[in-house]
Amino acid sequence: MTTAAMDDSSHMSFHVLDTVAPVLAPRVGKLAIAGRRTLSTPHYISLTSRGTVPHITHDVMRDHTGINGLYAGLEDFIEKKPPAPLYKTPVTEQESPLKKFICVPENMPLILGPRRFPAIPCPPTNTETSIAVLTSVGFHQLSAHHYVEAVQKLRPDIAIGLADIVLGKPPGVKRREKMVDRTHAFTRDALDRLYEDPEEGQPKSKAAYFAPVLPLDNTQQSLYLDDLESEFRHNLSGLALYESASLTFIPESLGSLPRLLLSNPSSPHEILREISLGADLLTVPLLGASSDAGVALDFDFPVPPALQTARSEPKPLGFDLWSSDNVTDTSPLREGCECHACQQHHRAYLHHLLSAKEMTAWALIQIHNHHIMELFFAGIGESIQRGSFDEDVQVFNRVYAASLPEQTGQGPRLRGHHLPAAGPGQPRRMPRIYGRLDEAIQKFAESQSSVATPDTGAEGLEEHGFAEKA
């Protein structure tokens, strides 16, 4: 067993259980933060948007999900002129203003990063002292100074260090140098101000600092990595990685630190690959994306023996509830599933809700998909501990389809902060809703109704029993 050496200033500890190699191998661990629920790694972190896990209200999160660990981006909270409202949250000395602001229990592990994840590329560029962010009212520059202050004041359990990252296009050679230099400077300054030399009256921060590792080759950031190993080491509690390739060159002396991988795996297979390389905490945007797409996840890890028999076609990773196969299907989303959605409802209802564009659809699918993801990670932990992970992954890759089912229906309405900036000459984001009957108005020379209109013609109406052709 190895234990990450912890400075007094941090209240977090990370124990890796039974690992042969410090890097490049799957590992299970326990991440314990004083007063918080313990995280068994590998585990996924739930991504929030404006402090909410999309479609999941706080009581649903508490009663019907096992969500344990949230990620919040500061950019979601700072659209107002400083100081933003969340800094005014009344708290006791122990409480986190951010948790109180978003109304989550104090024992919920919370990770703060400068930006949402996945972040939307911003047209303005980062500078020597700040990064460009997107708030719900437009682009801002978030200064390194402000971010450190936010970590101090908002008291997240884990803070991800500021990094100069180029989104949307690969950075050029010169830009890459700048990325390293700036990130190096951000890190030095943040560690100084949080742990070494806080401003007058400020106590040392209790937040665990996860230093960013840039999505670059290790040779390009070797100076920075060297300093992480030496000068900065005693103030580091973990590493934040932006691509799985970074897992391959983590220096051995940093091997005992927990690794948070901020990536966007496209399938469970990729999640397994990331874990096989030694990721401890992972982000899984496909979880919410599947829910929005109306896709209910359906996979098990390790693959149950009953499913391992030879099959002509790979087993799908989920199924599309928009599909008309579900119209009268009163079976649960997944046979034997214990989630609230499967216990209370059936496919026909979910299909109806999606086609009626009712928001309850996404709430229920989120509950189900979170349940599947929790079981998936629990299975991974057991498999690693049993020592059968590599074989289990091979079976999984063989049995299941390579990618998730394609989205066929519409997702929920997206808001400005969910979407990339619209440029000139781009098509409308949303189809026109109002004036759908304009054609009918011309036809019948009247009507301003916006009442929901059937998607079906006269034949359909008759078949539906709604009325008959006159």
Partner: protein, 414 residues
């Protein structure tokens, strides 16, 4: 129009029992319990509207926790989606949506008002052009009842000829009233499950009290298990609304529940209860929640307004809904500042406020009921208006003062 008390009328079974507990000694307010096939409903009650078989983003667990025993589905919408064939295959709307408490469906008649320009009403039914392909269609009372039988709701409504109350065409209003009575007869004949589904008639007659009286007489004679007062909340003056409710309740039998359709502002409900009404429905509380408006004892708060950006109090101090209850009491400790942060930006904002608003309306009804049981409804009404208008009697709405004076409550008295 048919004459009253036709001897050949078939006996009307009922799938409900209506237990009256107390009547206010001053006003016409009643406290009672309506026992329906899927559980008992305390009256007076507000019924939230789950238009398309879901209450706007809430799970049915969450709806249950607001205390809701009876919610609405919309026949028009369920008829289009998922459609009668699916409802039959699934086994009705309760099974479709996983709701084990009561459902009420309207007949689709109200949607005629909204679609009226595309539709013409004839004695046979409503003729309209399919909005999709323009084919002429006919919706009849028989269709409506057949759909509601497939839906399996505990309370079903007759198809009525709805026209805007503000219509100046008196002859048309009179025609609509008479037609609604004739359509009720067709609905009763077409109704396949009277022993498990309660058909309510709908009193029509616009704002003409004489027409309303005639309609009451005709429809009471048909002996439906419950009675609705329809055609209101269409933009008429509140004074007129109160007169219609007051006139109708005066003619309706005491031993049947009375449902005023489409009413849902707290003030309207509190006054209508004093006038003898028992049941209300409205999309306003849930719709306004999605726009960021919270209903509280002092009125309505637009939580999207920047004055709430740094207000860390609960949505309503006195409310005991899951959102407003502090975490120490098992609640979520949601603050106004947080609502400001998410309202109209995240669906969760809409869900939370929907929970609050529905809970608020139900607990308002619960408090009114308790006041009636303890025979202190007049003082309850005074307190209620006093809270909204901050004790300033000069701001009390005239229509409410007038209507309440008519049932023996002087809001302006010291």
């Amino acid at each position: 129009m048919s004459t009253t008390a036709e001897p050949s009328r078939k006996p009307m079974p009922s799938a409900l029992t209506f237990a009256r507990h107390a009547k206010c000694s001053t006003t016409k307010a009643r406290a009672s319990t309506l026992h329906l096939p899927h559980g008992s409903v305390p009256l007076p009650i507000f019924m939230p509207v789950a238009t398309q078989a879901s209450l706007k983003g809430l799970t049915y667990d969450q709806l249950r926790q607001t205390g809701c025993m009876l919610c609405l589905n919309n026949t028009y919408h369920l008829g289009l989606k998922p459609g009668q064939a699916v409802l039959d295959a699934v086994g009705g709307a309760h099974k479709l949506q996983g709701w084990d408490r009561n459902l009420l469906t309207d007949s689709g008649g109200f949607q005629m008002v909204s679609l009226l320009k595309l539709a013409t009403v004839t004695e046979e039914g409503v003729r309209f052009l399919s909005p999709h392909d323009g084919t002429p269609m006919l919706l009849t009372p028989e269709h409506s009842i057949s759909l509601q039988n497939s839906i399996g709701s505990d309370i079903i409504m007759q198809l009525d000829d709805v026209i805007a109350t503000t219509s100046p065409d008196h002859a048309r209003i009179k025609e609509a009233m008479g037609r609604s009575v004739r359509w009720l007869d067709r609905c009763i004949d077409a109704h396949k499950n009277p022993e498990s589904q309660n058909l309510f008639c709908i009193i029509q007659g616009g704002l003409d009290l004489e027409l309303r009286r005639q309609c009451c007489a005709e429809m009471v004679a048909r002996d439906t298990p419950g009675i609705a007062i329809g055609g209101l909340s269409g933009g008429e003056a509140k004074e007129e609304f109160c007169k219609v409710v007051d006139t109708c309740t005066g003619l309706l039998p005491e031993e049947k529940p009375r449902y005023v359709m489409g009413v849902g502002y707290p003030e309207d409900m509190i006054v209508a209860i004093a006038l003898g009404a028992d049941m209300f429905d409205c999309v306003w509380p849930t719709r306004t929640a999605r726009f960021g408006n919270a209903i509280v004892s002092s009125g309505t708060l637009n939580l999207g307004h920047k004055t709430y950006a740094q207000d860390f109090g609960p949505i309503d101090e006195e409310c005991t809904c899951a959102c407003c209850r502090p975490t120490k009491q098992g609640g979520l400790g949601i603050t106004r500042a947080y609502m400001f942060h998410v309202t109209q930006k995240e669906t969760v904002g809409a869900h939370l406020l929907t929970i609050h608003n529905v809970h608020f309306m139900l607990s308002l009804m619960g408090a009114a009921r308790q006041a009636i049981l303890e025979d202190r409804y007049p003082s309850f009404v005074r307190d209620f208006f006093s809270k909204i208008y901050d004790g300033d009697k000069s701001k009390f709405p005239e229509w409410a003062v007038g209507a309440l004076r008519g049932v023996g409550v002087d809001l302006l008295a010291e």
